[in-house]
Symmetry: C2
Subunit: 357 residues, 2 copies
């Protein structure tokens, strides 16, 4: 299957037909998407960063029941800061609470929690073939427990320094996540967002700087992007936004509609939904507070005060207060099932690259 | 010569051996660099945005005396705003004037002026094979005069909307300038800098959106980048920072040294040197005022107050107040003559792409 890929290290190690990782997208993709992407030949991913261990176990069981393909579990490794004073943030949001007839922020949505001993125990039980980490890595003891399961370990770098850091800690693959990527930028070494690097520049420099195969992410939504990533030195690609456009993703209808519209040409990096920097489409909250608001609590606390507001707005068909994550290549995608998308990407990329043989 | 390029529209129309444009870099590249790049097979460029018509004519004469290759003249098309109140900006700079023993800002450096009737007359005299415009296009009457000379007209887009705008005005080629690019981002339709697009996402969407061949720019400094740009749909590439590293460029020694160092991994988009958004390396002024300073006068006026300060600092071996432009792929370059660089890029990119034939 993989005969024509210029770099076979990913497919040889992971055992997928295609060097494509269906990106873990917390809140937007679950076992349904992972199974469909895996059926097409990609590595399916389960985003665990907003799940309890029981929920994560249930997701994995659902995948295992439907597929024999390898699976990737994705976890967050941020440092959870002390709970912030949210008075200024609440004051900014108060007019919206009033508009939607809410007494206040209401119950917070699930907090994004860093990988911990409970999740390490889960990995030891579930034996995922791949474990990927966002926002750095867990501490050495936890990482060693994951490594001991035999899982391939994937780290995420947004800078060349982060890639070197991950390489020095012995990960098996490094994602080079360019600034085109949708959702949260996985930076963790205190980088200045003014220095955010595009995939075209980041990828080859990471390839040159590290000893392990590199997975390209950010701005890749069609076969041209896959082929180009391989010529820049990638051994695989991670694709997110294109999978958001499949019927298997769990996104709000208005979000889906925006991804196929001119709005998708104008995504911005914003901190208003979580406190962390993440790329999404402009909506009312982004325009009112940000894109980068100064009184937004640090990641991941900002989302605490948005739960009721988001639900109330969505009930009215409005995603003005919901994150509509999108990468900059959203419009290169199509509305098609994840298995069809995956197979098409593989076939078309091989045609572009295969002519090289 | 060009048999192996997947898209030959650029080389067929312009007549260069290679589909490479040596980027015009005002202040950093002149006829010496253009002639050397052209000797290697690229399209050499003369940046005219900071030159008088007489200076531009002298540059072209020097190229014509040394080369029969086609030449590109580059002009700016910004709207010159009214002269701003510079009191707040001057107050910010006063401590630096004091530190360097200066009475004040001194004589301003050459102001970046938009393309005008005098320059159109020059084009009619000099018959450049290519004329490229940054920050939009001149008005229709001036553009028609340029077109009537037979010059191929090149516009620069930083967004898909800008590319459509240029296409509708009948340019012959459109540069898709990604956010990785060094120097000034050529945006002109009022785009929000929060929406700056990386080359990997911008290029294929521009290719899909317009009717003319696209020149990729931003993050391209080696053969991998050239090959990847072609797979993303480019018909040529424009390369700047890699040419800054050649001995033919006119940059301060410290700037040259930084381009080959880890500092080049940390470029930022800043407005402190001109008032316009431009990517360069961090230095003292960037860190003191920006990267994006709010009291910086609009483009191009900010540079007016920096001339004496820059000269005084440079005389002390310090480029803390000089723009050290750099794209995000600076470290992929090498210190080598422009002709050698050009030929190597062409040969290596052909090897990567030629295997496809």
């Amino acid at each position: 299957m993989a005969a024509g890929w210029p770099d076979k290290r990913f497919v040889d190690r992971i055992g997928t037909a295609l060097p494509i990782v269906q990106a873990p997208m917390a809140g937007a993709g679950d076992h349904v998407l992972a199974v469909a992407a895996a059926a097409g030949g990609a590595l399916g991913s389960i985003p665990c960063g907003m799940l309890t261990p029981d929920q994560a176990a249930a997701e994995v069981s659902a995948v295992r029941a439907a597929s024999t393909a390898p699976i990737n579990l994705n976890f967050f490794c941020h440092t959870l800061p002390p709970e912030p004073d949210e008075a200024a943030w609440r004051a900014l949001l108060q007019p919206f609470y009033t508009e939607f007839g809410l007494d206040g922020p209401g119950a917070p949505p699930p907090l994004r929690r860093p990988f911990d001993t409970a999740m390490a125990g889960l990995v030891e039980t579930l034996w995922p073939e791949v474990v990927s980490f966002h926002f750095g890595l867990p501490d050495r003891a936890l990482l060693d427990r994951v490594r001991a399961t035999g899982a391939a370990i994937v780290g995420n770098a947004t800078t060349i320094d982060e890639a070197r850091w991950l390489d020095s800690r012995g990960v098996d693959f490094i994602i080079a996540q360019g600034s085109e990527a949708g959702g949260h930028a996985g930076h963790f070494l205190g980088g200045d967002c003014a220095e955010a690097m595009g995939t075209f520049a980041l990828l080859p420099q990471v390839v040159d700087a590290v000893s392990v195969p590199v997975i390209a992410a950010g701005g890749i939504a069609d076969a041209r992007g896959i082929a180009a990533a391989f010529l820049l030195g990638a051994a695989a690609v991670q694709i997110g936004t294109a999978y958001l456009r499949t019927p298997e993703s769990r996104i709000f209808p208005k979000h889906r509609e925006m991804l196929g519209s001119a709005a998708a040409e104008h995504s911005v990096v914003t901190n208003v939904f979580s406190g962390g920097l993440a790329r999404g489409l402009r909506n009312r909250l982004v325009d009112a507070i940000g894109p980068i608001g100064r009184d937004v609590p640090p990641y991941p606390y900002a989302s605490n005060m948005l739960g009721a507001l988001r639900r109330a707005a969505e009930a009215a068909g409005d995603i003005g207060f919901s994150p509509a994550w999108a990468g900059q290549a959203a419009r290169l995608g199509h509305d098609e099932p994840a298995e069809v998308l995956t197979k098409r990407l593989g076939r078309e990329a091989m045609a572009l690259l295969g002519d090289r043989q």
